[in-house]
């Protein structure tokens, strides 16, 4: 079985780019990735791409070249990028293809996402009465978690403070100015206990990664991180996930726990081996809970870890080194691939100003509605 390597990476800065469509930003990211690898669009044997609100991803084809390659549109909520990566990985791992590209882009209107109940198999009243908001799910989940595991509001604030600090060091981040803890804590409450600085916003952006078999990479004289593990899992019975009008009293594992366990098993490494991690931080609490769900600590240990600065750049386990969703915003189609882009840069020593020295293993985890998670383990 061949190893799969990431031999090229491109990104269109996240945030708001007026006058440039989501598709434009996807094309931009693809051209950057091709230039990064020194390859042409004509070299690509396949493509997987996703966009949630900016049209069909294969609309990039006329812009880049109608070469006849298989292009599969991927749509998997916030895990769209992770799904595209997993698809590309499998295409090469199977031996069917040797070189291809995965892309994600998006452009959302301002403000919180509005969900369509019927599209998720839920009754209309659930949306009409104001209960179908992802923000409410995250707030409910962290409220209970804080009560059970002794996490304080200040720790929520510190996660956001770190995100904006890392954003100042990241060219592709949207929020590039620091925000102090006091401002974060005293800002307008959005969904208790989370203030507006503790939530990410829907945004715009594009990311593309070029994948190659180990053999092909060698032939082309290219290098890059190896994909050691990649897994996606959906919500099991007894989990607490977004858009859930009722839950089983007997609690079970989450989609994140299942996906991370599968990724660790595939990679043959564990959380203790990770040098840099990108964890879904739709809001501050998600980063905290995902630290435990991915196996980086026990429930409740985050309080001391974050106070100690363990998750800052230079700490024991730097988390969301590019500012994560909090500083980059969340263009659904591009967000999961941004995490992998950031790890790729870290593992190639190209994360200027935010480099985790000597990083060898990078981990990323994306989470999305209606309860799915995708995890990827990269090795230098």
């Amino acid at each position: 079985m061949t190893d799969v390597q990431i031999v090229g990476a491109g990104i269109h800065p996240f945030g708001r780019t007026d006058g440039r469509s989501g598709l434009d930003q996807g094309v931009f990211a693809i051209r950057e990735a091709l230039a990064d690898a020194g390859l042409d669009w004509e070299d690509m044997e396949f493509a997987y791409g996703g966009s949630s609100a900016a049209g069909a991803a294969d609309a990039v084809l006329p812009r880049l070249g109608l070469t006849g390659i298989p292009f599969i549109n991927v749509n998997n909520g916030c895990a769209t990028g992770g799904s595209a990566l997993l698809s590309g990985y499998s295409a090469i791992k199977s031996g069917e293809f040797e070189l291809g590209i995965v892309v994600g882009f998006d452009k959302h209107p301002r403000g919180a996402f509005n969900a369509d109940p019927e599209a998720s198999g839920l009754p209309r009243w659930y949306g009409e009465t104001g209960m179908m908001l992802t923000t409410q799910f995250f707030a409910n989940k962290i409220t209970r978690y804080m009560a059970l595991h002794g996490i304080t509001s200040e720790t929520l604030g510190r996660v956001a403070e770190k995100a904006f600090e890392n954003g100042t060091r990241t060219p592709h981040a949207w929020r590039r100015s620091p925000v102090d803890l006091e401002t974060i804590m005293n800002a307008q409450m959005v969904s208790d206990p989370l203030t507006k600085y503790m939530f990410c916003s829907p945004a715009e952006g594009g990311t593309a990664l070029i994948l190659a078999s180990e053999k092909k990479a060698r032939e082309l004289g290219l290098s890059g991180p190896k994909v050691r593990g990649a897994a996606i899992r959906t919500r099991p019975l007894g989990s607490f996930e977004v858009f859930a009008p009722s839950l089983e009293i007997e609690r079970g594992k989450s989609a994140v726990e299942l996906a991370s366990a599968a990724a660790w098993a595939m990679a043959g490494v564990g959380p203790e081996d990770v040098d840099v991690a990108q964890l879904q931080d739709t809001e501050s609490g998600a980063e905290i809970m995902h630290m435990a769900e991915n196996g980086f600590c026990k429930d409740g240990e985050q309080e001391a870890m974050i106070a100690n600065g363990d998750t800052r750049i230079g700490g024991r386990l730097p988390v969301n080194t590019d500012g994560g969703c909090l500083a980059c915003g969340e263009p659904i189609g591009a967000s999961g691939l941004r995490q992998i882009y950031e790890n790729t840069q870290q593992l190639r020593d190209r994360a200027d100003g935010r480099q985790v020295e000597g990083a060898r293993i990078g981990y990323s985890q994306v989470y999305g509605a209606p309860g799915l998670s995708g995890c990827v383990v990269l090795e230098r």
Partner: protein
């Protein structure tokens, strides 16, 4: 908002969601015939064929909660606009031996809610329709000594 124990006049937001009779309100769930597992809300359409309609307990304990501080986008259709939007509670209530159900929460002070406190089912007129008739949904409210919710 109604006083605890009293239901609000108006029409229900949906069929087979809850049953109102006089001052009594009951949430409706489905019990799957094959395995006895409960599901809320009662499934609709072809999915309902495998389920019997059952009533859920009217009292339970607060499992988690938040306060919705901004006016949601559509399909939310509650009264008012962004300027006069009134924050409302949304949380989960554990009904012993049955399910943990998501619900709007009504309380004098939404920030005073605590996980584990006893809650009771009530109703809430969350909007007024074009004809002026209140539209009713279900909600949970804290059971507090001597207090009306």
């Amino acid at each position: 908002m109604s006083a605890a124990g009293e239901t609000t006049m108006g029409r229900p937001v949906a069929d087979n969601l809850f049953r109102m009779e006089g001052d009594e309100v009951r949430l409706l769930a489905g019990r799957k015939r094959a395995d006895g597992r409960l599901r809320f809300p009662y499934p609709h359409g072809a999915d309902a064929e495998d389920y019997d309609l059952v009533e859920l307990a009217t009292e339970g304990k607060l499992w988690s909660y938040t306060v919705q501080r901004f006016r949601p986008k559509t399909p939310f259709n509650g009264d008012g606009d962004d300027r006069n939007f009134k924050p409302y509670g949304v949380g989960y209530v554990e009904l012993p031996g049955q399910l943990i159900v998501e619900s709007r929460l009504v309380a004098d002070d939404l920030t005073s809610l605590t996980i584990g406190e006893p809650m009771r089912l009530t109703t809430e007129a969350y909007r007024t329709d074009d004809t002026g008739e209140p539209v009713i949904t279900y909600a949970f409210t804290p059971i507090r000594e001597g207090a009306t919710a």
